[in-house]
């Protein structure tokens, strides 16, 4: 993530210099300057789409629809509406531009809400349909001038400054600079970290406390607003707008700009827009060859350069796994359990059931955890353990029954809200954010701990992964992935920690390390619920063991009791002959 942002910023600075040099050196070539001006406006649209595509993996083929809304808002309001005397053309433009941007943003919000329900091709088609509807209505409603559009859009004049003509080049690129700066600031801050996490793994992002839906809708609205904003300038620069100039093919062009340049980066969007703008200008003599070459380039980029041209500069192929040495800290001895902070149990499960189709995954399960203890949840494959975890932290919702976290009914809550109550969780398959470094991964626990302070460095040291600090998570060896996930779950000092098979895939030394880690977390007063198949670990570390079979609790007690319980033995070994 860091490498990408660094390259992105440097490229943006380089582009800024290029834009200035080009604007001065090329001032005499009006065709060239004009192409660069419209290229800039498409770049603004592309920046929004790049954010959307690169950070949420949602593909929109409807951005020209927002662009059209902005353009027509300005064209209609400044050319067809009679304003009260005294309102200058400049002021008219400002009002119309703000309005157009707002409408586009609100419609983006609406599409974003639709996007929450669909993914992939459905969403792509829905956005395409949105664009086609917008264009169709613009053609149909007489006030918008039908196929011939709206002409005579006045140039916005602010005192001695006129937003048009050769100078438009500078204003257009100024707009790009503003959009780029705003977007870059977002990407480099908390929002950027949240979006990066969402892009890598939406479920894990939700579980560390990031409201994925809110961010998704927000990015959609932002991308829509940027497209609308660019549209408002387009209409006034050109002095006219026709429906065909903002149609579905423009949407596809913009999508391809982002793909070509590299989604997820601002510079990629600008590069893609510039490449297209200039090939359009110089390619005129090769009428059909140009788009064919363009199509082939897109196919090649999709297959060989999934991070686009800009990706060449920051994206490395997978490197050999970096490994941190495993040292087992001295056993803490008989841990002095921290005093439970509350008499209310951190977790209480009351009569919870969950069905999938005809299959009963969890069947009327009830238990309450004693604060500051380690409880293991064991049972044969398919017993419903992970489903129960998912119900507890909101990844699925129980059909019946109640989940109480610190006394609050969270049964219908979304995972990020439950996370913010102090519930952390690890996954069977160690779901890390692959493109983020180890330190960045651990730092995402900040999303669940708004208000409370925590120290990433201390967490890394505590789990013995300080040497991996700057390693991208996707380059980690498996055992280290587990440790990083444990550090990410524990760094925010949760009250309740759910660990799903933390020992799976670990070697003997790593398992030993895990055992001491769990004991030390308990020493901090954290309540742990553990799914594990490594019975040695379960028996060593647990204060209590709950056994599930076919979704029901068949035993619940001290490790030693459970080990000798005939029902448990039968569940694991089969009925004796």
């Amino acid at each position: 993530m860091k490498a990408r942002l660094r390259v992105d910023l440097r490229l943006q600075c380089a582009f800024a210099v290029l834009v200035v040099v080009f604007g001065i050196a090329g001032a005499r070539d009006t065709a060239l300057i004009q192409a660069a001006t419209y290229g800039a406006l498409y770049a603004v649209v592309a920046i929004g789409l790049s954010l959307l595509l690169g950070n949420t993996n949602l593909i929109s083929i409807g951005q020209a629809g927002f662009f059209a809304i902005g353009a027509y808002a300005v064209a209609y309001l400044t050319a067809s509406v009679t304003w009260p005397a005294g309102v200058t053309p400049g002021a008219q433009f400002l009002v119309a531009s703000v309005l157009g941007t707002l409408i586009a943003g609100v419609l983006g919000l609406a599409l974003g809400i639709i996007a929450l329900r669909f993914s992939g091709p459905y969403l792509a088609m829905a956005t395409l349909a949105f664009d086609a509807i917008v264009i169709g209505l613009l053609r149909y409603v007489p006030a918008f001038g039908g196929v011939s559009g709206i002409t005579n859009v006045p140039y916005p004049i602010f005192g001695s400054i006129t937003l048009s003509g050769p100078n438009a080049y500078w204003y257009a690129w100024l707009l790009v600079a503003v959009a780029a700066a705003a977007t870059t600031a977002m990407l480099r801050g908390r929002i950027g970290r949240a979006l990066e996490a969402i892009r890598n793994d939406p479920l894990a992002a939700e579980v560390v406390g990031i409201p994925v839906r809110r961010y998704t809708v927000g990015v959609f609205a932002y991308a829509g607003a940027l497209a609308g904003l660019a549209g408002t300038f387009y209409a006034s620069f050109l002095g006219l707008v026709v429906p065909d100039a903002v149609g579905v093919t423009v949407s596809i062009d913009i999508l391809l700009m982002v793909i070509l340049g590299g989604s997820g980066t601002v510079s990629g969007a600008i590069l893609g827009a510039a490449v297209i703008a200039f090939t359009n200008l110089y390619g005129h003599s090769y009428q059909n060859l140009r788009p064919i070459a363009y199509g082939i380039a897109v196919i090649c980029v999709a297959i060989f350069l999934p991070h686009g041209l800009v990706g060449l500069l920051w994206h490395r192929r997978n490197v050999k796994a970096t490994v941190a040495p495993v040292d087992v800290p001295p056993a803490p001895g008989q841990t002095a359990h921290a005093k439970p902070q509350a008499t209310t149990p951190w977790l209480e499960v009351r009569g919870v059931s969950k069905h999938f189709g005809g299959l009963v995954a969890v069947d009327n399960v009830s238990f309450a955890l004693e604060n500051g203890t380690v409880t293991a949840l064991i049972g044969p494959n398919g017993a419903g353990k992970t489903t129960l975890f998912n119900a507890i932290d909101g990844v699925v919702h129980a059909d019946t029954g109640t989940i109480l976290v610190a006394g609050r009914d969270v049964t219908a809550w979304e995972p990020h809200r439950i996370a913010r109550l102090g519930v952390a969780r690890s996954f069977q398959s160690a779901r890390l954010f692959g493109d983020m470094t180890v330190a960045e991964n651990v730092a995402t626990s900040a999303f669940a701990t708004s208000g409370r302070t925590f120290d990433v460095g201390a967490a890394l040291t505590r789990f013995g992964i300080a040497s991996l600090r700057e390693t991208p998570a996707r380059d980690l060896a498996f055992g280290d992935r587990r440790r990083v996930e444990l550090a990410r779950s524990a760094a925010g000092r949760p009250d309740l920690l759910l660990l799903d098979e933390p020992a799976a895939g670990l070697n003997a030394l790593e398992r030993e390390r895990l055992r001491t880690d769990i004991e030390s977390l308990r020493g901090d007063g954290i309540t742990v619920l553990l799914i594990e198949h490594d019975m040695q670990l379960v028996m060593d570390v647990s204060d209590r063991v709950i056994v599930l079979e076919f979704g029901s609790v068949i035993a619940d007690g001290l490790p030693r009791e459970v080990q000798t319980n005939p029902a448990v033995i039968e569940a694991y070994l089969g009925a004796s002959a």
């Binding site: 593909i59 509807i133 149909y140 999934p306």
Partner: protein, 288 residues
């Protein structure tokens, strides 16, 4: 009324075959092929070349165009879709959009920008039916659609290889463990899908003219049909495609031309929101 019905079914035939083609590729490779409509256009142009360059009968041209589509589909899957699938689902979608450009401007380069006429399948042009005048070619389109659907039905329901293709789409790992070459089944699926597209382009060519730049519109209308009927069900896709043709024709007789497409797309949005599995049910296969 009959006139409207026949016109609607004729338009809908293309959409039905496109929807079916999208369904078959989606099933086999989990990819939405945005280039489906451009292959339809290409099919008409293939037929045109067969007729005007090789001077063969239009029926031979239909066979030739369909066969070329089959070969092209297999190559398309092998060299573009499969390679992009190794990256991710989004890459497949993007690659197919790139293909739209290549096809759209590729055929403009070879055959020119202007739509051109294709000979009808029989010399009789019009026929009276229940007081309405019907184009004979429309009857050919509907009849040939029926024949193609019957062929597909027999292939997928009655032959071992057809069932093996369905099995490979249903559970690729299970299919491999039963000895089915899943990669080849995917290629054949794409080949069939694209053959359907070029077939459609040929049979409607005499009515719509061949060539032109409306491939993406055909894709989208076909997709609307597929969603309307249910993307997961082949029968739903076919019915949905025909339905879109009927709706479009009906709307076209009532409303201004510019309003028809937005209305059709509005129906798509409503169906997506209210009944994403489509009107004709079926389990959802894409989301989740």
């Amino acid at each position: 009324m009959i006139q409207l019905l026949v016109a609607g079914l004729t338009v809908g035939s293309t959409y039905a075959l496109v929807a079916l083609g999208i369904h078959i590729i989606l099933r086999a490779t989990r990819a939405i092929n945005f280039a489906q409509g451009d292959f339809v256009v290409l099919g008409g142009l293939f037929a045109l070349s067969f007729v005007s360059q090789l001077h063969v009968n239009i029926w031979v041209a239909l066979l030739g165009s369909t066969a070329l589509g089959f070969v092209l589909g297999a190559l398309y899957e092998r060299f573009i879709l499969r390679a992009a699938a190794r990256v991710n689902e989004g890459a497949v979608m993007i690659a197919s959009i790139g293909t739209v450009y290549v096809l759209l401007y590729g055929h403009a380069l070879i055959w020119g920008n202007e739509p051109q006429p294709l000979p009808t399948f029989s010399s009789a042009q019009q026929v009276q039916l229940g007081g309405a005048t019907i184009a004979v070619q429309s009857i050919w389109v509907i009849a040939l659609l029926a024949v193609m659907l019957a062929v597909l039905y027999v292939f997928f329901e009655r032959t071992v290889y057809g069932k093996a293709i369905r099995a490979a789409a249903n559970d690729p790992i299970g299919a491999r463990l039963a000895g089915i070459n899943v990669d080849r089944a995917r290629s054949v699926s794409a080949a069939i899908s694209i053959a359907l597209a070029t077939f459609a382009g040929t049979i409607v060519g005499p009515i719509t003219l061949v060539g032109g730049s409306n491939g993406i519109t055909i894709t989208v209308k076909g997709f609307v049909g597929a969603i309307l009927g249910g993307l997961a069900s082949p029968i739903g896709c076919t019915a949905g495609g025909l339905l879109v043709g009927l709706i479009e024709t009906l709307l076209g007789s009532r409303f201004a031309h510019d309003l028809v497409d937005p209305l059709v797309y509005a129906i798509l949005l409503v169906v997506l929101l209210v009944r994403p599995q489509g009107l004709f049910g079926g389990r959802r296969i894409v989301r989740d």
